[in-house]
């Protein structure tokens, strides 16, 4: 199945009985669905199990997908809610963005190695680590907005929140991340200048 095939064409093929088309859909979205469940569950094995359940659920109900929204929005909504269901069962201990001290204490590499400039990859890794330490809902807002390139409206739809709530969360979260990574960001700016 070509990578240029649209989601709609793949869905039609699956409904007609083309098994391989569903594999293409899974391969297209597996990383994103897994990221959503991982951000909520914070455990790779649990996240993978939940992500597999998501694709099974989606397969079962694919024929009822009304195509009023994008397939990805529908898929991520199922992924987020499935992950929350798993989380409720397991009662994971997670931290909230509301308390500054809740953040992972990110190592300040600049203070340890003053001569070594901060590489972009390091910043990315630290960001990923910081996002993983966020409360599940908060981490999802950030990843849906940036990684999945969803609009504020779509994030609100997926997470069953209001648009203004998502905007406020996004603003608070980015400010919290910025203050957490301030040193690294300053280095990044200096590298660019």
């Amino acid at each position: 199945m070509s990578t240029n095939t649209s989601d709609g064409q793949l869905i039609d093929a699956v409904i007609r009985g083309d098994h391989a088309a569903y594999r293409s859909l899974v391969e297209r979205y597996q990383k994103y669905v897994f990221t959503i469940t991982y951000n909520v569950l914070k455990n790779r094995e649990e996240a993978e199990e939940a992500a597999q359940d998501v694709f099974i659920k989606v397969y079962r109900t694919l024929a009822s997908f009304e195509r009023k929204s994008k397939f990805s929005t529908w898929l991520y909504t199922i992924a987020y809610r499935t992950a929350l269901d798993y989380q409720k069962k397991k009662k994971y201990n997670t931290r909230s963005i509301d308390s500054e001290e809740s953040y992972l204490q990110i190592e300040d590499t600049k203070s340890k190695n003053p001569d070594q400039s901060m590489h972009q990859e390091d910043l990315k890794e630290k960001l990923k680590a910081a996002i993983r330490e966020l409360k599940p809902g908060d981490a999802s807002v950030i990843t849906l907005f940036y990684l999945h390139e969803k609009s504020v409206q779509e994030v609100a739809q997926i997470m069953d929140l209001t648009v203004s709530n998502v905007k406020t969360k996004l603003h608070r979260l980015r400010e919290a991340l910025r203050s957490q990574l301030e040193q690294q960001l300053k280095t990044e700016i200096q590298d660019l200048l």
Partner: protein
């Protein structure tokens, strides 16, 4: 950073600020060092967030899913929703109960017609005869037939389109 809030700066970066706000920020940038730094810092975070990559599941992820699929059948959409079906059945049951209660409470005219041995049957015959000529009967009949037709179509289409899985 006196004039612009953090939210305004993020809105500027996201492109969701008003045209007026955008112009104000752009005009202030050349002469406001603090604003330039604040914006650059947020822009760097914004760009770093855009570059974050998705987490990779295990190599067998897709294969595991595909191995679980053969036993699954599509839950095809129903023409008649279960809620509507339940509501209709409830309404029909209530209507039938109401009719029975009503007929049981009809005045007994059996003595006048000379069929004293079967008073209830007599009432039913009288009531049914009058109901046949009523427009309500026609409406209820049409609704019932439509419902039955939709339910039949629902079942037929489901059977027709459910995929025969090959293991």
């Amino acid at each position: 950073m006196k004039n612009f809030t953090e939210e305004q700066l993020w809105n500027f970066i996201d492109g969701s600020c008003t045209e007026e706000e955008r112009q104000q920020i752009e005009q202030a940038l050349p002469e406001n060092e603090a604003l330039r730094l604040a914006l650059a810092e947020r822009m760097a975070l914004h760009q770093a967030l855009q570059k974050i990559e998705a987490e990779e599941p295990s190599m067998r992820f897709a294969t595991n899913i595909m191995e679980r699929l053969p036993n699954i059948r599509f839950a095809l959409p129903q023409l008649v929703s279960p809620k509507l079906r339940r509501g209709f059945l409830l309404a029909m049951t209530s209507l039938s109960a109401a009719i029975v209660v009503m007929v049981l409470n009809l005045p007994d005219t059996s003595s006048a017609s000379g069929t004293e041995s079967m008073p209830y049957v007599n009432r039913w015959v009288e009531w049914t005869t009058s109901l046949v000529n009523s427009p309500i009967t026609l409406i209820i009949g049409c609704m019932g037939l439509s419902f039955l037709l939709l339910t039949f179509l629902d079942g037929y289409l489901k059977k027709r389109f459910v995929l025969k899985k090959t293991a």
